[in-house]
Symmetry: C2
Subunit: 359 residues, 2 copies
DNA sequence: CCAAGGCATGGGAGCGCTCCCACACTAGTC
DNA sequence: GACTAGTGTGGGAGCGCTCCCATGCCTTGG
């Protein structure tokens, strides 16, 4: 609850004309509120910031003056004097935004936004689309415009997380670059996702389960593949490298991988695609090859995106708690901002299999 | 091109240790740059801001000092002294974000972000999900945190655009609330979209073309419906209100509308759905009713979203230049910030029909 | 009854910039 | 040889806050 939520009616009372006149005379300042309430500047500041060292009488008087004047503290002045901006940057690499498309980033933003709004912090969105823009963004951070940084979809060789840390800014990533990630992160259980998918397919009696992986330079792709292998082992199915083919999270990549898999193992009876979009590509190839889904080949994807629901047949998919990841990231970052973290922090959220007609 | 792009190497040269030491001694200030360059504060400020009133010699000296110290101006101080924040708010109503889902808002953000980055402005994203948050956002604006506001997906009765104007802030909307919208906006040619879709269907020999509209309290829905009617007239087809049914831009709404249409006019041979998602719902109902797409009933949507590509059969759809709308909005807003606009401004971008197998 | 401590309070001193006025200094003009 | 009209430059005066120290008052205890 922001301290000024309680006075939010002031502007409304005044209506547009009041605001306009307020504009020409300049917005009210702390000083004016102090004068009106008959107290000093410091006292108003204390009330504004919820300090306990204020008497009840005084607090009431100040609150009334604030409401009467429609006072809202000037953010720039606060930032300058207090050296905190109450703003958080969320960085999304352009390339990924295009790829994952789907509501992934929107859901993430929704979670981050909700959590930040509660803490009365502002969300600053940055789409980074080139090396040049990455450098520009670093300048941004140096200009002390944000209190902390959230990074989405970081690649294995991305230097940005470390650069941000070097600047002394708290940072939390979505996903990790390697198994042993030194930077705080929030991830979903990608290994569990692969295991759940394979367990499901094996449970349906499938024994020749192929997989279309993501690009293997991304941890998320390796983790899902690892889960796939663990799932096979747990189901007592023999591993077979001919049943593994790398995609790149695009529909076309899914098509390509599916063609190779069919060539090598025409007898495969199930496919675990590491994303819904690749599953869509795979389905196209399967259909062209005359295989029925799910009768001949069962299909499972990951993301549980709208695409999965609308596919024909509707796609069984592993859902990630995307919005919750966003919330978790924001919470973690806010804690790190409040006080430097004692230890590297991480949070891995569970995934959930959503069964539909494709398997 | 930001004025400090040319000195962006400074931080890099120093490496992490340099930055860290810079942190404990505090970041360099204008004053320190001035001292180092042997000039006054005002002069450095002039160089920084690209004023022409500086000799070449002085400019060079200052530039070098800036580079040597790795100076980056403090944003809060600039905002306080200069009363401009170099930040723009993009407001997205939560309900719509969920609905349109798809990459609509992501594309819009991409366009806005690209244009703002060029102007060295920062993008502030706000998802507004309740009346309470809307009020909070108004407080935000009052705190003078942004120089202008972009509003996406505004409803017919939304008071926010006028409230923002009352606060004296420049604002540009995406879409409009009515035909005669007083607030500056950027929209796509929704009437043209409807006409193009119907013209296409008529050209394919269809004569009983139905439409599933959006919610008719939204201008965008009325405009597409208007285009549909104009298209019928232009093709010499008789209007028939029994062929018109309102949806709500959701898949379920599309299903419901399609069922009603089939009940009323079992002989319809084409459907223009005002969104891809509704088209997906309609396709489901058509299939359940034993109608083949496109043989029995041709189907056209709007948005050209990934869903359209992945549908079965792939959906013919009218594409909007979403990213370009975002760019246009940003440009318009930046102009209005630079100098108050002489006249209400608007910009309507053309749409384009993408023909696929469903029609 | 007075000292010591605690609490609420006022206000000075910045935070790092932009704005703008004043001051050279140069160059042109009658 | 003044007198204007520029040009480049320095630096004072804020912008509206937060931080913190000093002040005065009210308690409490010896």
């Amino acid at each position: 609850m922001p301290w000024w939520a309680s006075v939010s009616s002031a502007l409304s009372y005044e209506g547009s004309s009041g605001v306009v006149s307020g504009r020409q005379s300049g917005r009210p300042t702390l000083e004016q509120v102090a004068a009106r309430a008959g107290v000093g500047r410091g006292t108003v500041s204390r009330v504004i910031n919820g300090s306990p060292r204020v008497s009840e009488r005084t607090r009431t008087a100040v609150d009334r003056a604030v409401a009467e004047l429609g006072y809202v503290p000037n953010q720039a002045a606060r930032a300058l004097a207090g050296s905190r901006t109450d703003a958080i940057a969320l960085v999304i690499p352009e390339a990924e935004a295009r790829l994952f498309a789907e509501p992934y980033f929107l859901d993430l933003m929704r979670g981050v936004g909700a959590e930040l709004a509660e803490a009365d912090k502002q969300l600053l969105l940055t789409l980074v689309r080139s090396e040049r823009e990455r450098r520009r963004f670093e300048q941004y951070l140096a200009a002390q415009r944000v209190d902390g940084v959230l990074l989405a979809s970081v690649h294995g060789d991305d230097p940005l997380p470390d650069r941000v840390r070097d600047l002394g800014l708290p940072v939390v990533m979505n996903g990790r670059r390697t198994e042993a990630e030194p930077v705080p992160y929030v991830d979903s259980d990608n290994i569990g996702a692969g295991r759940a998918a394979v367990a499901h397919l094996a449970g349906r009696g499938r024994s020749r389960v192929a997989t279309v992986t993501g690009p293997l330079d991304m941890y998320v792709a390796r983790a899902r593949l690892g889960g796939y292998r663990a799932g096979l082992a747990e189901a007592g199915l023999p591993p077979d490298e001919a049943l593994v083919e790398a995609g790149d999270f695009t529909e076309e990549g899914g098509r390509r991988a599916m063609r190779l898999l069919l060539d090598r193992r025409p007898d495969l009876d199930a496919v675990f695609a590491a994303s819904d979009v690749m599953a869509a590509g795979a389905r196209g190839v399967l259909r062209e090859a005359g295989r029925r889904v799910p009768e001949d080949v069962a299909l499972v994807g990951v993301d549980d995106s709208p695409v999965a629901r609308l596919m024909d047949p509707p796609l069984t998919s592993v859902r990630q708690p995307i919005e919750e990841m966003g919330r978790s990231m924001a919470r973690m970052l806010l804690q790190d901002i409040a006080r430097a973290p004692e230890e590297p922090r991480r949070h891995v959220l569970p995934t959930e299999l959503v069964v539909r007609a494709s398997s």
